[in-house]
């Protein structure tokens, strides 16, 4: 199967997907209500879509094509309100966050859909351990070559995305000491990590053809890269974000991606190089482990600095581009967060240190998601 041609999309257009948790209101463990939620949500006309995910306690919502983070926020808020209404009807709650803090992976059930059954057969227990919740941001690219250039430029900011969205400190009832433990689960998949260094669509197509010849992959869906091109949408898709606890933060992160993309397109600020990836895994680990307190190694200069400082410097540099794409408020939210050193992982830890009960932390996260 050859690679699909890169379709047209409006440059800097946005699309956001959020994987969300469905929990019961008794002990706040994950609850298998995806099918019921889909049935109820189908009755409400909404922008974007609501679809099932790998296991039956997950649901994925997505916006339509948006042109600004405020439009993303508008659509996500509309879907969120409908979700909350349906959840209330079913006596369950919808929660953000990259992991459910105390769910047991072996209790999960694979959602009854051919692709999920196939994946479950291939990946065994990994598929149930994939009950993790991420945000994907699509950003529109004018053409295929620009998309690949943008993909590799964006790779330098992967630690920023991870630290700002991190919301998965707890796994199986334990504090992992990571701000984003979710990405450790993604790493278990054989085709995860970084995309190959190809700056033209022809080079990328050649790589794809070689991979399909090996029989290891059949389509772009088989790659679990941190950022991947999405030819059918004409976008690149950034996949390292944990699902934030609120739709406001999700929209702000989309605004950050859009502002970076605007900067890349308008100023062509640097050329990505294969050597950028020498520090990629280290930076990624630092961001997952320490969040905003991580160390960031500049891929170009090798300089070590506080990730938080690099985020603040980037946000400052992005200001004019953010204004141009109407993402000023989004960046303001993230700047305040970086200045305080607070992300959702920290909020979850603070709640747990007060309450000493992870189920109560989930209940509070559910209230936060429903904007209370």
């Amino acid at each position: 199967m050859s690679l699909e041609p890169f379709h047209h999309s409006a440059a800097l257009s946005l699309g956001v997907e959020l994987e969300l948790q469905l929990v019961n209101t008794n002990d706040y463990d994950l609850a298998p209500y995806a099918e019921d939620m889909l049935r109820l949500m189908a009755k409400t006309p909404l922008p974007g879509s609501v679809v099932p995910e790998m296991t039956s306690s997950m649901i994925e919502i997505s916006t339509g094509v948006c042109h600004s983070s405020s439009e993303v926020l508008g659509q996500l808020s509309q879907i969120r309100d409908a979700l909350v209404k349906s959840a209330d009807k079913l006596n369950i709650a919808v929660v953000g966050g990259g992991t459910h803090p105390f769910q047991m992976w072996h209790e999960r059930r694979i959602y009854d859909k051919p692709r999920f059954r196939e994946l479950s057969e291939l990946y065994g227990y990994l598929s149930k351990q994939f009950t993790i919740f991420g945000q994907h941001v699509h950003v529109g690219c004018p053409d295929a070559d620009t998309a690949l250039l943008m993909l590799h430029r964006m790779s330098r900011y992967i630690p920023h995305f991870i630290a700002l969205s991190a919301s998965s400190p707890y796994v199986q009832g334990q504090d992992t000491a990571f701000d984003s433990a979710r990405l450790n689960s993604v790493f278990a998949f054989p085709l995860s990590g970084r995309a190959p260094f190809a700056l033209t669509w022809d080079e990328f197509s050649a790589y794809f053809d070689k991979m399909t010849r090996t029989g290891v992959v059949k389509s772009m869906k088989d790659f679990y890269w941190d950022i991947r091109p999405k030819p059918e949408y004409g976008t690149i898709e950034i996949r390292v974000f944990d699902t934030p606890l609120t739709v406001e933060r999700a929209a702000a992160l989309a605004g950050y991606v859009q502002s970076l993309a605007a900067w890349f397109l308008r100023e062509q600020p640097f050329m990505p190089a294969e050597d950028d990836y020498l520090v990629y895994t280290y930076n990624r680990f630092q961001a997952c482990r320490f969040g905003l307190e991580a160390v960031y190694v500049d891929p170009a200069t090798g300089e070590h600095m506080a990730l938080r400082d690099h985020i603040l410097a980037t946000l400052q540099r992005l200001e004019p581009h953010a204004e141009a794409v109407n993402a000023g408020a989004a960046l303001h939210l993230l700047r305040a967060s970086a200045e305080q050193g607070s992300n959702d992982a920290r909020w979850l830890r603070e709640q747990q240190s007060q309450e000493r009960l992870l189920a109560e932390v989930i209940r509070r996260a559910a209230l936060k998601f429903r904007d209370r």
Binding site: T25, N26, D27, A31, P32, Y33, R39, D88, L357, A359
Partner: protein
């Protein structure tokens, strides 16, 4: 059986009395049978407990007096109270605000179960004074059996949750009306207040005891962790005290516990973790409850005519519950398939039904004997068969995490689940 007991009584004189030894051995056998039954058939353990109790009862084991009194009555009430307190705590009242159709489903299935049972009994020419209390008993679906089945099958999902909530609500109605009915039996009624007054007394006292229980626990939870073992012990001790007090003042102990659980859920919205913490002590108490129920229920007099009536009554009740749930299903957020399996999952009858019958017998020995003659076989049948039906319903609804087959054949693990 009696001869064996007599020889035994001559042979040994245990410090805690012979009944303690008999009950201990019976419970040990029940525990082993529950485990082995689940291991080799995949059926829930509660079927094993009930089967052992039934066999003991049929063999003439008379470890408890009928109608229930004294310590056996207290233990039964305590077991029910523990289950109902937890079940009450699963009912957030705000759910009915967001989804009033669930409340409608509950009212419809309970009312239909009452009507269907009454109609069948009258059709079999059972006197109205007997048919009415029996119809109240038929309303009850057992949250105790259902929660044990849910535990054994590792079930979770919309059918499981809704069946537990509807069972608990049906218990609430039946306990209120049944306890009041017991107070009215053998008493002439002149005006409406004669009927309303006993209901108000039972409900009022139960609400007061339940509220005291809920407030005490809420106060405790301000300084104690809900995951602490000591919090669980405090909970059990307070429920035991509430059980003894509610009955003493003329209320219903299980009703007080149920209302206490519901009230605590409203006062303290923090998640519940007690079921996991209650542990073996509560499990033994609940197992004792199942064995006790089937032992007593098996002592009923069986005859062909009673068997036919019981079978018809059971079928009519099951059908009424399914139809009732389905009637109010549109707009309730559940599919028709889920409504069917919810109705089926509410088949079990157990301890609460027995407790009600015991109350009727104590209130009116003459009518009570006629009620028990039909009720006891029905309860026994539905304690065992109901658990099997509920297991199958949860499995068919796709909410059981375990396959419906013997343990080990699917997982390769033949040890304890």
């Amino acid at each position: 059986m009696n001869e064996i007991m007599a020889i035994w009584a001559e042979w040994i004189r245990p410090s805690a009395g012979l009944p303690t030894v008999q009950w201990s051995i019976l419970l040990a056998i029940a525990a082993a049978c529950g485990h082995l039954l689940q291991r080799y058939t995949g059926l829930p353990k509660v079927v094993g407990y009930s089967a052992v109790g039934a066999l003991a009862g049929l063999a003439g084991f008379s470890g408890t007096a009928w109608p229930l009194q004294g310590i056996s009555l207290f233990l039964l009430e305590l077991g029910i109270s523990v289950v109902l307190f937890e079940a009450g705590g699963r009912i957030p009242l705000r759910w009915f605000r967001y989804n009033p159709m669930v409340l409608m489903q509950s009212l419809a299935e309970s009312a239909l179960a009452f009507a269907a049972a009454y109609w069948v009994l009258r059709w079999f020419e059972v006197p109205a004074a007997v048919a009415e209390p029996l119809a109240l008993v038929a309303m009850v679906a057992s949250p105790a059996v259902l929660t044990r089945v849910v535990m054994d099958t590792h079930a979770s999902g919309p059918v499981t949750e809704r069946a537990i909530v509807l069972s608990t609500l049906s218990t609430l109605y039946a306990l209120t009306l049944g306890s009041a009915k017991a107070g009215l039996m053998d008493r002439p009624l002149h005006q409406l207040s004669d009927t309303v007054y006993p209901v108000a007394v039972v409900l009022g006292i139960s609400v007061v005891v339940g509220a005291v229980l809920a407030l005490a626990l809420r106060s405790a939870l301000r300084v104690m962790s809900p995951t602490s073992e000591n919090t669980s012990m405090l909970l059990l001790a307070l429920i035991a005290a509430g059980t003894a007090l509610a009955a003493h003042f003329g209320g219903s102990a299980p009703l007080a516990a149920l209302l206490g659980g519901m009230l605590l859920k409203q006062l303290n919205p923090r998640p519940w973790t007690w079921p996991r913490q209650l542990g073996t002590a509560a499990s033994i108490l609940i197992m004792l409850m199942f064995v006790l129920v089937s032992t007593v229920a098996a002592q009923a007099d069986w005859s062909k005519s009673v068997a036919g009536l019981v079978a018809t009554l059971v079928l009519a009740r099951a059908l009424a519950k399914i139809v009732g749930v389905a009637l109010a299903n549109p707009g309730s957020g559940a599919s028709w398939r889920q409504a069917l399996w919810t109705g089926c999952a509410m088949a079990p009858m157990s301890s609460i039904a027995l407790l009600l019958v015991s109350q009727f017998v104590l209130a009116s020995p003459s009518l009570g004997r006629m009620i028990a003659r039909i009720a006891l076989p029905t309860i026994l049948l539905m304690e065992v068969l109901g658990a099997v039906v509920a297991t199958y319903a949860l499995y068919r609804a796709g909410e059981s995490s375990k396959p419906l087959e013997p343990l080990g054949s699917a997982t390769g693990d033949r040890r304890e689940s």
